[in-house]
Symmetry: C2
Subunit: 679 residues, 2 copies
């Protein structure tokens, strides 16, 4: 350091150091560890290292910056500005030289570890640090005096120019290498996948500087639906999202039906594997077509899924998952070639699948654990992801427990007499007047309540077609609060309730919500069977949560997070009235949206998050509901529907439900589940 | 150590130590690092650890061994002997306990690092240390209290029982895992491939103890023929060998013709890749069928081949190999999945390809370098592998040089008027009487000379069909020694030579060896064109060798090793007369047989040999004949045919050959080669 050195201060990091006059800004940033991007390594062609020098007085930093503190626009910058345009004040960090004390701002888009902009400020940020990165390199030209191969000289260039070592390349990439090097006049852009443990794979090579975006897919492979996000691997921006039904539904609506199908039909597992892979291939092609990109630009895919979907995706017979002790073929996170899953992405694309937590608690639950991270909070979180199975996490910075509870599909509107999937025309909100016992409701796709002006037009439009999952929860809770249903779940007769909406139905009663028969529409009622189905589902959910609370020795939780599409629409008040979730302040009940999908996006965007969830899954304490006698006790005890004005605990303990013959200790999980659904 | 400890001495290693009475022999061996095999880890079921205790006086070792120095046959040994039979004196090392001072012999078949028994004692030994090994393990049973997957518990067992870590498994193996574990009652045998750098792959899994042999293929993929050995991966024994013609021949007889085909025909390289892979797939199936094994038992394949075959095998366009600077796509050794080469072996089988030395000096030359190991000797070896190209190595413990010389196919009998491949009926040995100028000869498949009784039956049998490569060399050398040909290579007229076997042919002459026309057989002559073709081929070979000698600054070598099938049949005397190889004592000219194939077998048998040749190839000094002006000088100078009685050097310097227009500096290797073949 000499007196001639200049003080260079980078914002927003605040990193500072002294550098010899003439030092390029990019060099100063790299030496200080400032998060400033560069793909071309300072050759003035990629424009990723744009910075904004600031001038004037900076009392906070103790410097005065003069106009001549950085070099003037040079030919490279002028050319770049002329052809592509530089924003006012922006400079190329590799071309701009330090000439005096200077403050330099690194705008967000020039940072490697960008934070992805997301709508909900409360959600965990996604910081870009993807497994796949692109590098521009200049490779030593082949010559008679050097007998090494083009790939070996490329490896040497990567080591010398980017300090990246231990590269391998699949045949599909090596096949393109010689043409790319010659077309690019010995300069190429390569995509390198960090496979961990100093192993890296070259996924693609392009002549010269390749600037088209590179993408990854974050896929939430559910039993019912498959949802995928196409994400830019550098900015994290979601370029497209799409969902399709899981075609395996025709082999069985829920997981255990599909396991049974595999057991009963030789080759049935392979058939389901083919179907789901074909659906995912279509999904990938659709997303690429909609975004107007080539599937070759998709270099990665991250999957989250439950254990049965995991096994069927990978081509493992799921038979062991249908019987105690529910042994997984493999539980660790895995990385494999996309072509091994018949995915039509880049030929060298890599797939990462999050770890499974246990035989019943899958990579989807791991993804929820990654996105919600209860281990980072001191207060106690109960996180519930409701699907055909409910994945439940309970924990704080001390420890985290997990279990899965077989709620069945009632919460998704299935096995409900007027139930339907969430779609326009489905009742999603209901209120019942406790005095008149009259209902008012709203359907998906309309903001108008059924007793408001203009509802006739709603009916004339989409119609009232059924009740979705969140609607049936509200309906049952409102019926209970309005005195139409007693604590045991029994619907009263018209005499008992004082409303003609109580309709006799065999030896039980149902409650009429909407009669659309005059318009050839459906008559929508809540039947005694519907109440029983909801009671079973919510009891399973509640019992799972209670089991984890018992394990921690607590009677209440600080906050409840409802994950999943269903969780996003559910009303906290009604969930508590119904006894789905343990006692909690309603303002401490949060919706996390598609937390599993978010976890998949995080793992796609950030390789450290993969290592973090792999380590966290090892620490999570797995509770197996099927072998815990207390699960059955809680399940039976939770069958009652507590009234909003009564203490929940009191009601929950006094009721037992007839007609339930569910013994999770029988060792026959599949059978047990089937019996319960009949109940 | 207590007084009660016994002295245990192992032979043949001589390793010794004291052990507590009751110590199993296997345990003692393992603690002393004695090379004693075990697959089941001492459970008494694999029988690999058989030893022979010796009794009586051992003055050399200073011990007396009493009859009770080892425990008696136990139940395990009795059962094993009853069912499978133990040789007299043999014991199971894991069951036999030390009870006193004892001398224990480890027979060769119980050693892990067995030396493979080979016919020629002079050849380098093959010591077994294969990349793929089998392990018998007992895996923790799946249970409700352990949520980890079966594969993770298998990994833990491998670590605990064999200290093997860092295992991955392809989907094809994971798919079989759960069934194998349950069928084997949680005991399985696994095949683990050591991929280096603490990475291992599980290639297969079988229930219980799997005892069928495991195999590997050592494949010498030549331009003309593909030869493969099926080798037992534990004993090294060759269970079968087979060869087929390289079907690419229809795209061009030599390498450069095939490169030209790829250049001229879009997709031509892919076509040749398909053909050669299909031929190898057939070869693998044939070898498995002949040995009556399943292709699933073949877990590895090792390839040696020249650079063009290497590129066409891997699916790389060879176009760069047809023009200066002959840049390889990749030169390092590589490991890949056999399925990527469409080889019908075990679905998880691994392929290892030896490193390439340079653009013209391939993995076949590396294999020769591995099997002949000139770097292990102090005397100077010249190693020549003659094929369509000659690979030449020159070196000793100080340094090793390599080059490739484009000899063309004349040495293989191609482009010779009566030439043919080595097959029954082909003339392989010739003598010409210097006084009478009359020839006598022998054909392949018969020991009878043409002037001996019984030759008529030979003719009646196979017939005399042509001259093979070694035959044409002898013919030209004998013609020179008999004064039928002058130093410039010109065949004399009947007047000049005094024999009516000198037949006029246009403006030149030919020499009649055999006239079979009275039996509708061929008239076999050596034409002036044949002599020119042989002169060109031998000049190229000689010039390459001289170039390397110049580089080392030597005028002679201590020994010459002729490798390849051709080298095995060539007569040292005639090779020297012809001037194919530099001056050397004829008793220092050796045949190494198929040294490239041997190198492939070594790399298959011993993983350390792979690392050794990878390191050695980095050290080998590559000389590129095409850019060395002296190569052309040597080539032109070497065109003469020295007479056996004259000093070689004198003759070699005085003659230049007309009609040759070969300029290796033109930068057009392919063109140069074509021109030379026309000469």
């Amino acid at each position: 350091m000499s007196d001639q050195d200049a003080l260079v201060i980078f914002t927003p990091s605040g990193k500072r150091g002294r550098f010899a006059l003439g030092t390029p800004v990019l060099t100063a940033a790299q030496q200080l560890g400032v998060d400033l991007d560069s793909v071309c390594g300072g050759r003035g062609i990629c424009s990723k290292c744009q910075v904004t020098p600031s001038f004037g007085e900076f009392p906070k930093h103790g410097v005065t910056v003069f106009e001549n503190a950085v070099s003037e626009f040079n030919a490279v910058e002028e050319r770049y500005d002329r052809i592509r345009g530089l924003k006012t004040g922006r400079r190329l960090g590799c071309q701009t030289k330090v000439q005096g004390d200077i403050v330099i701002d690194v705008p967000p888009e020039s940072q490697v570890h960008k934070q992805v902009v997301r709508k909900a400020a409360s959600t965990r940020p996604i910081i870009m640090d993807p497994a796949t990165r692109r590098y521009y390199i200049e490779v030593e030209e082949a010559g008679m005096d050097d007998p090494t191969g083009d790939f070996e000289r490329l490896q040497a260039a990567l080591k010398a120019q980017w300090n990246v070592e231990g590269i391998t390349a699949p045949l599909s990439v090596l096949r393109k290498l010689q043409k790319a090097l010659r077309k690019g006049a010995w300069a190429v852009t390569v995509a390198i996948y960090d496979a961990g443990e100093d192993q890296s794979k070259m996924l693609d090579v392009w002549p010269g500087l390749y600037e088209e975006p590179l993408y990854g897919l974050a896929i939430d492979l559910g039993s019912t639906t498959i949802a995928a996000h196409l994400c830019d691997l550098e900015t994290g921006i979601v370029a497209g999202s799409a969902g399709v039904m899981n075609p395996q539904i025709r082999f069985g609506e829920d997981l255990m039906s599909r396991v049974s199908y595999a057991m009963m039909n030789p080759g049935g597992d392979a058939e389901m594997t083919r179907e789901v892979r074909a659906a995912m291939a279509d999904l990938a092609r659709t997303l690429a077509a909609d975004a107007e990109i080539s599937t070759d630009q998709i270099l990665e895919a991250v999957f989250v899924c439950n254990p049965v979907m995991h096994h069927l995706l990978l081509g493992f017979d799921p038979v062991e998952l249908g019987q105690s002790p529910f042994a997984l073929t493999s539980s660790d996170a895995c990385t494999l070639d996309a072509r091994d899953l018949d995915l039509p992405l880049n030929p060298a694309a890599q797939v990462y699948i999050l770890p499974l937590i246990a035989g019943h608690v899958g990579a989807d639950a791991a993804a929820v654990a990654l996105s919600e991270a209860p281990e980072l909070r001191d207060d106690l979180s109960l996180i519930v992801d409701v699907g055909t199975n409910a994945e439940i996490l309970l924990g704080n910075s001390t420890q985290v427990l997990a279990c899965s509870s077989p709620t069945g599909p009632a919460f998704e509107g299935a096995q409900i007499s007027s139930g339907q999937r969430a779609a326009p025309g489905a009742i999603e909100r209901i209120e019942i007047n406790a005095d008149t016992k009259e209902p008012r409701f709203r359907v998906i796709g309309s903001e108008i309540w059924s007793d408001e002006d203009g509802f006739a037009e709603v009916i004339a439009g989409t119609g009232v077609t059924g009740i979705c999952g969140s609607g049936i929860i509200e309906a049952v809770a409102e019926m209970r609060m309005a005195g139409l249903v007693d604590a045991s779940g029994l619907i009263g007769s018209a005499e008992q309730t004082g409303t003609s909406r109580s309709l006799p139905e065999g030896r039980t009663h149902s409650y009429l919500i909407h009669d659309g028969s005059d318009r050839d529409g459906p008559v929508i009622t809540v039947t005694q069977g519907d109440i029983r189905a909801i009671q079973l589902a919510k009891s399973a959910l509640y019992a799972g949560a209670r089991l984890l609370m018992d394990e921690l020795g607590v009677d209440e939780v600080d906050r409840v997070v409802l994950a999943g599409a269903f969780g996003a629409h559910i009303s906290p008040k009604h969930a508590i009235v119904l006894g789905m979730i343990p006692d909690c302040r309603t303002d401490q009940v949060f919706s996390a949206g598609n937390a599993a999908g978010t976890g998949a996006r995080m793992a796609l965007a950030n390789v450290s998050d993969r290592r973090a969830i792999e380590a966290q899954v090892q620490r999570i304490n797995k509770i197996e509901t099927a072998i815990e006698p207390r699960f059955q006790e809680h399940f039976v005890a939770a069958n009652a529907i507590p009234h909003a004005t009564a203490p929940f605990a009191e009601l929950a303990k006094t009721v037992t439900l007839p007609n339930v013959n569910f013994n999770p200790n029988s060792g026959d999980g599949a059978g047990g589940r089937r019996r319960r659904r009949r109940g």
